[in-house]
């Protein structure tokens, strides 16, 4: 696959966008400071024609008063409008940006600086944890029961009326 060579303008679009999504503050780097825009470009747009970025720029109103505006309120507004008008694409970009952000060594360092153990490659070294102590960690509550095979008896399910009663609202609607 040929590397997708971006015109400078396209790189600028993604850089500004990811910095609105994950801005920097005193403790955390901005997304572009750690290169998130390049990763998003490769992962989401690497196999697509350059017109995909151009359409993104249009959606973010880069040509006039949107994402590239000096005023942060304008930029935020442009991203909000993009999110509302293109929810699926926005979701893809935001997810890709966030996953990429927390892969970056500089961000991992910021996590550790906050007091949480964290590894870029946890599988390599793992994390230390004390072994299960059979004497002290074994539950002592004594709760729990099970039916033995011979204890299973027929139940009268007519009381729960599964045949005619219908649950209209279930799940989060309940």
């Amino acid at each position: 696959m040929q590397p997708n060579t971006l015109p400078i303008a396209n790189e600028t679009i993604l850089r500004h966008l990811v910095d609105e999504l994950v801005p920097g503050d005193g403790r955390w780097p901005s997304a572009s400071e750690v290169g998130v825009h390049g990763v998003v470009m490769l992962r989401l747009f690497g196999d697509q024609p350059s017109s995909a970025i151009e359409q993104l720029a249009l959606a973010l109103d880069c040509g006039s008063d949107g994402l590239l505006n000096a005023a942060s309120e304008r930029r935020i507004s442009a991203v909000r409008q993009f999110e509302a008008a293109n929810p699926v694409l926005f979701e893809k970009i935001y997810t890709a940006a966030v996953l990429a952000y927390y892969e970056m060594p500089g961000v991992v360092e910021a996590i550790r600086a906050g007091g949480r153990p964290y590894s870029t490659f946890p599988h390599a070294d793992g994390y230390p944890m004390p072994a299960f102590d059979l004497e002290h960690d074994t539950p002592t509550h004594g709760r729990g029961r099970y039916l033995r095979t011979e204890d299973v008896v027929p139940l009268d399910v007519s009381s729960i009326d599964l045949g005619s009663a219908t649950t209209e609202r279930w799940g989060m609607e309940r």
Partner: protein, 541 residues
């Protein structure tokens, strides 16, 4: 097509059950051939050692077959739950989480209990010795003595380390006076069988270290040393049946050369999972399906979840993916308004900071913009996930059929239809309320519930279990195999994967599927001579 020898046993599928059967047969000196449409998964293929492992878990390493777009997969069209499937040596254990709880005795007796599911033709006691064998063979961690389960032998290794998540949850369970127990897992806490102990990395979908059992690394090497012949990139297109009603072997495509070959066999064992097996039988001129049961009664389990955040850090991103299991609600209690029960599988948290921030168990995620970092600081290291997983009722219209889309070799894909029924909905409503109770008992500062319904109300669980589609039974009219996993209609055809489960139970199915596979393989081994010639099938196991 080239001439092939007649092997003693032909196994279709090199996943968990195919590997166990291969081991049993090969160790007995039988001539065994296993055909696997996929290939070996190399250590470097796995995301674990790469900086972008979080991204890969969502893309090329996604447990959902439809999100991976891998050449070894076949299309699966599902109008609801997403499908956990991995077409490779080791099967779905290349990407599973390794939870290892057993069925309970009542799971085999639902016909007696309420009649809305069938009784199995076998009992917990028939399977129990093979649960023990499976635990020893694959390497399991856990703790005997759970009063909510029948007695068992000591687990090969002790439970995995107690995490701060487990301590927080157990305090909540104690406050509610609910059962809890350390989770059983096919993840070893100590060095075992030349495999290293778990290092608590938390990236528990498959394991390049082999601390989590993956049949490709724990069983297949032994089966190969014992003499089994494994052919990869060998996609079975059709199982053939002779005029005497016996299976004669299978046509398969050598995906490397493009040749279509035929492997003759005295006995054919299908181990292609709850979707792949009915797909193959239906595509084999409706093999073993005179009663129109193949593909029907698809079971997934009911599933809802909660994600909670607690005040003090619990660092759920480290340690094995699961912590505790609660069997408080595992048995039927009609006062709840439904039959069957459910368990609470307590997850630690995602090992990935990015996954948590982008949205993990629930709709909660870090907002974009100026609030992002504050959200992350308050949530990372403070999160706990809990699944409620229950026994769904069978519905013959929940089923696997053939799709018009084909795989890369022209074989029809699979189409799934599943919709939860009335009992399932009542159960899930109750489960959500209990998850809320647990979050409050744990003094969660925030919690979110998850019912896995999309914006249109369709129930779409994440990559998930597929069971029941060639179920075991006493009655040839309502089941596909007998108590030995033997097809009622084709005497030398056996099915040993999750499609034979007659009920889903309240737990992850791999231990039960593995135990049943060992039991069936042992039966085939011990009765090989008779089964090689049998032209009828016993009516009872």
């Amino acid at each position: 097509m080239s001439r092939q020898r007649i092997c003693d046993v032909l196994i279709v599928g090199a996943g968990a059950t195919g590997s166990l059967a291969a081991l049993v047969f090969a160790q007995a000196g039988l001539d065994v051939v296993c055909l696997e449409q996929g290939s070996w998964v190399k250590a470097d293929d796995r995301p674990h050692g790469h900086a972008d492992w979080s991204w890969q878990r969502r893309t090329r390493w996604n447990p959902d077959v439809n999100k991976r777009d891998h050449a070894d997969d076949f299309p699966v069209e599902s109008n609801s739950s997403q499908v956990l499937m991995w077409n490779a040596v080791g099967g779905s254990t290349n990407a599973y989480g390794g939870l290892w709880p057993r069925y309970r005795p009542s799971d085999f007796r639902k016909g007696t209990e309420h009649g809305l599911q069938p009784d199995w033709p076998i009992t917990y006691e028939d399977v129990s010795p093979f649960y023990e064998l499976a635990d020893q063979v694959v390497g399991v961690s856990g703790l005997a003595g759970d009063p909510a389960m029948p007695p068992r032998e000591r687990c090969p290794t002790r439970p995995l380390p107690v995490s701060d998540v487990a301590r927080r949850l157990s305090a909540g369970f104690d406050r509610l006076d609910w059962h809890w127990w350390p989770v059983e897992a096919s993840v070893i806490s100590e060095d075992y069988d030349d495999r290293p102990a778990c290092n608590n990395c938390g990236v528990c979908n498959g394991c390049p270290r082999s601390s989590m059992n993956e049949y490709a690394t724990s069983i297949w090497p032994k089966a190969l040393r014992a003499g089994c012949e494994l052919r990869t990139h060998a996609r079975v297109l059709k199982i053939e049946k002779g005029a005497d009603g016996r299976a004669t072997g299978a046509y398969y495509k050598d995906r490397n050369s493009g040749q279509v070959l035929f492997q003759k066999a005295r006995i054919v064992v299908v181990a292609a999972n709850g979707v792949g097996t009915p797909r193959l039988l239906l595509a084999s001129d409706n093999l073993a399906n005179g009663n129109d049961q193949v593909g029907r009664n698809l079971l997934h389990h009911t599933l809802v979840a909660s994600e909670m955040w607690v005040d003090r850090p619990v660092d759920g991103h480290i340690g094995y993916a699961a912590s505790l299991i609660s069997r408080e609600f595992a048995e039927t209690d009609l006062s709840r308004g439904f039959v069957n029960g459910f368990n609470l599988n307590c997850i630690t948290s995602t090992p990935s900071a990015g996954e948590l921030a982008a949205g993990w168990f629930s709709s909660a995620r870090a907002p974009w913009g100026s609030g992002h970092h504050r959200w992350f600081e308050n949530h990372f290291g403070h999160s706990i996930g809990v699944f409620a997983i229950g026994d769904d009722l069978p519905n013959p219209e929940n089923r696997v059929t053939l799709d018009i889309r084909t795989d890369s070799d022209g074989m029809p894909g699979a189409r799934l239809h599943y919709a939860p029924g009335e009992n399932d909905k009542r159960m899930m409503n109750y489960m959500l309320d209990r998850l809320k109770d647990l979050a409050q008992a744990c003094d969660a500062v925030e919690y979110r519930l998850q019912d896995y319904r999309d914006e249109n109300g369709v129930y779409r669980t994440p990559a998930w279990h597929m069971l029941g589609t060639c179920r075991m039974g006493k009655d040839p009219e309502t089941s596909v195999v007998n108590g030995w996993n033997q097809s009622w209609e084709v005497p030398n055809l056996f099915i040993i994967d999750g499609s034979v489960l007659a009920t889903g139970g309240t737990v992850n199915p791999t231990p039960t599927i593995s135990a049943l596979a060992l039991r069936s393989a042992t039966y085939i081994r011990d009765n090989f001579a008779a089964l090689s010639k049998a032209t009828s099938v016993p009516s009872m196991a």
